[in-house]
């Protein structure tokens, strides 16, 4: 494991999380609370980045945490870290929400009304979180513009790659490959192993 990964948050990705999820799968509520505390900040942050609307975001974050409880026994540590698993659940839930037409309408409306100000918009002020953020930003800057825009629209806005192609005015095949090679570059820059 590389140094950057260690700096990025040993408390969140420490060896304990996988073990804790094992206990959660056996119905241990105390273990669940520990997992909750470790992952809820990133989960809510990602969901909010995608949905914007604070109330909807909390709703989806709650769904994600309950899904974690419900499906803990299906977590397979060979398939990746707990954090990666949970963030995948969170991203999919948020994207599903974006794609339901009703939610989309609400979202646009409320996002316009609320802008960025919310009751809980404070960034978690831990050093590890700031370092993680800086590292991700640096790696995003390392992408080509088209890669970065494709990843931004797909990941942070929940667009399908067809929508990304439409928004950027480039062919579908180009978006497919830019998403893939962009993520590959991020993987290498972030030192991700799976």
């Amino acid at each position: 494991m590389s140094e950057v990964v260690h700096l990025a948050g040993p408390s969140r990705r420490g060896p304990g999380l996988e073990e804790l999820v094992g206990r959660v799968s056996r119905g241990d509520q105390q273990a669940f609370e520990q997992v909750y505390d470790a992952v809820v900040g990133p989960v809510l942050g990602l969901v909010r980045r995608i949905l914007r609307d604070p109330a909807q975001s909390e709703e989806v974050a709650q769904e994600v945490m309950v899904e974690l409880w419900r499906t803990a026994a299906r977590y397979d540590r060979d398939k990746g870290t707990v954090m990666a698993w949970v963030m995948t659940l969170a991203h999919r839930r948020a994207v599903d929400r974006v794609r339901s037409a009703q939610a989309a309408a609400d979202r646009e409306q409320k996002a316009a009304a609320l802008g960025h100000s919310t009751a809980f918009d404070e960034v978690a002020e831990q050093v590890e979180s700031r370092l993680e953020r800086e590292q991700v930003r640096r790696c995003l800057r390392g992408l080509t513009q088209l890669q970065r825009e494709s990843v931004n629209l797909a990941y942070y806005r929940g667009c399908t790659y067809r929508e990304v192609a439409e928004l950027l005015g480039v062919p579908l095949g180009t978006v497919k490959t830019r998403l893939r090679d962009g993520l590959i570059r991020l993987r290498d820059c972030l030192g991700v192993t799976a």
Partner: protein, 251 residues
Amino acid sequence: MNHAPDLHTLTGAYAVHALDPEERARFEEHLAGCEACAQEVRELGAAAARLGEAEAVSPPPDLRRRVLAEIATVRQMPPQVPQTGLDERPSGVLPRLARQWPRLALAASVAGAAVLGGLAWQFHQDADRADRRAAVARQQQDDFARLMAAPDARTATARTGGASAAVVWSAGANRAAFLTSGLPHLPEGKVYELWYNDAGTMRPAGLLPPGGAARMLDGAVDGAAGIGVTVEPSGGSARPSGQPVLLLPFT
């Protein structure tokens, strides 16, 4: 249907949930037989997760209370367990299927549906994927049940080495299903591909999932003379790259 190279480039879009539902289902089918793709999806998913983690915010305390209150009312899913009997089941079914068809059609249908249902459990890597797999398997079960119920459904069986296989087909329903038991385990990077035999020309009909025991053939029978099974690179081929390991004529 040699869409493997094209499908492979979808790993990135899949990892960030940027595929339409149909494409996602098609890609997941491909993923089941492509370990390199699965590995890449894992890695790109982990990289994407890091983008999400960097967005961490301080959650409102109230959320914690609501989540803890809700989980007290939510039943947890059991773990996945290997489906013992998945491979044994067809071996019991096939000989009977051959000898006593159609008297045991209903029993075979039920057993076959169980085999197909088992496929749902075989591949899933998380509950979400399981849900979609289950949907695919339900569709397969429905197709299979319809095929078995077709008045002109017929069956043919073959044995090769320790393996046995059967094909069930109906000209009326224009569909076919393949069931097998004991096919040798393939090395990584290889997959069994099914084909319709159109008078000597092989038409791709789908991949047998690793360890899989049954599947509906993709596409319609459309007057094919039978089916064949070959060993292909992961992701399948547009044309057979070698001699069939099994041939089952529709007779």
